[in-house]
């Protein structure tokens, strides 16, 4: 059996296949005009600009994220230096230059903080001395109490009776 006729209609024709073609050919497609309604011709959408914009935004977000991560390590000391510098103005500039809103609280807090810290140091020492004095006083009172108690026991009549046998 030769398959060429079945494959591409070349070679020796197969009578059975020819007969099938003849019979089934009646069902073959009959050309009919295609009725396309008056629709707009579809256009292919170009997604490249949208993709480019999306990629740019994504890159910007990534760069921003990286910058935010790196920023605190490098720039925070500079900001601190900027705040501290105006906090110690020269004494000559004081009457000439009005106090800025930024500097004022920094200076004020520093002064108050300085006084408070000095007084607190003094108070601490006084407290410690007072506590020591109190302890010494309490110790002295305790010793006195003990001695008074001893005197009292020795001079009381009950103890005198108890000690009679020893004397007698």
């Amino acid at each position: 059996m030769n398959d060429d006729y079945l494959w591409d209609k070349t070679g020796q024709p197969d009578p059975q296949i020819q007969q099938l073609e003849e019979i089934l050919g009646t069902l073959r497609y009959q050309p009919k005009p295609l009725a396309i309604p008056n629709l707009a011709v579809p256009r292919r959408r170009n997604y490249f600009p949208l993709l480019a914009i999306a990629a740019t935004v994504l890159l910007a977000i990534l760069a921003g994220g990286i910058w935010l991560r790196m920023r605190p390590r490098n720039e925070v000391p500079k900001q601190q230096a900027k705040i501290v510098e105006p906090a110690a103005p020269k004494p000559e500039e004081k009457p000439v230059k009005p106090k800025s809103a930024v500097n004022q609280p920094v200076l004020a807090t520093n002064r108050i903080h300085g006084k408070r810290s000095a007084s607190s140091v003094l108070r601490k020492r006084e407290r410690e001395e007072a506590l020591m004095a109190k302890e010494q006083l309490m110790l002295a009172l305790r010793v006195t109490t003990q001695k008074l108690h001893l005197v009292h026991t020795k001079t009381s009549p009950a103890t005198q009776i108890k000690n009679q046998h020893r004397i007698g």
């Binding site: 398959d3 079945l6 069902l27 073959r28 579809p42």
Partner: protein, 191 residues
């Protein structure tokens, strides 16, 4: 008889030779339609209507085929901009046709059966329909290829080029499908 290596090589060469021309035509037509030329789609319709007709004939009742062919090409016209590879218009519309046939059976199974029975007693080409029914009873891989070859008169290389199947698989499907059909036809008188 199975295809030998020489036969496959020869057919592959013929297939490649045909493919080198055919895709160029469909690519030009698809591009023309996407650029606004409505007549270009008529060219695609003329080229691929037999393929769609054959695919549907292997799956749905004959009375429904013509309307479905029109529907499929209308759908293809609306969705043509979604086709990424212009040279794949054939496989793309073949897939639309197969899916539409599945949808048809899902929606109107009862109607199809009644229509087939009614038409069987009226028409002159009853023998053709009997053979077509036998082909429809074959495994899916064989029935489409056999209908395209025996009903639509397409050659093996044409079927391969338009459906996107390889020439080897079309050849195997034709050979095995024909063998099964011959066995089925052995029970029919006059063949």
């Amino acid at each position: 008889m199975y295809a030998t290596a020489d036969m496959l090589l020869t057919s592959a060469k013929a297939h490649a030779a045909e493919q080198s021309q055919e895709p160029a035509i469909e690519v030009v037509l698809v591009r023309a339609v996407l650029e606004g030329d409505r007549d270009g789609f008529a060219g695609l319709y003329d080229l691929y209507a037999p393929l769609v007709h054959g695919i549907l004939l292997a799956r749905v009742p004959r009375a429904e085929v013509d309307d479905l062919v029109q529907d499929i090409f209308l759908h293809a016209f609306k969705k043509l901009h979604t086709l990424r590879d212009e040279s794949a218009f054939g496989p793309w519309i073949a897939m639309i046709a197969r899916n539409r046939a599945v949808d048809f059976h899902r929606r109107s199974k009862v109607t199809v059966e009644i229509n087939d029975e009614l038409r069987g007693s009226d028409t002159h080409d009853s023998k053709a329909r009997e053979i077509l029914e036998l082909i429809r009873g074959l495994p899916e891989a064989y029935r489409e290829t056999l209908v395209l070859r025996l009903v639509e008169g397409m050659t093996g290389p044409e079927i391969a080029a338009r459906t996107g199947l390889t020439a080897a698989s079309v050849r195997v499907n034709l050979h095995r499908g024909m063998k099964l059909l011959r066995e089925q036809l052995g029970f029919m008188e006059g063949l």
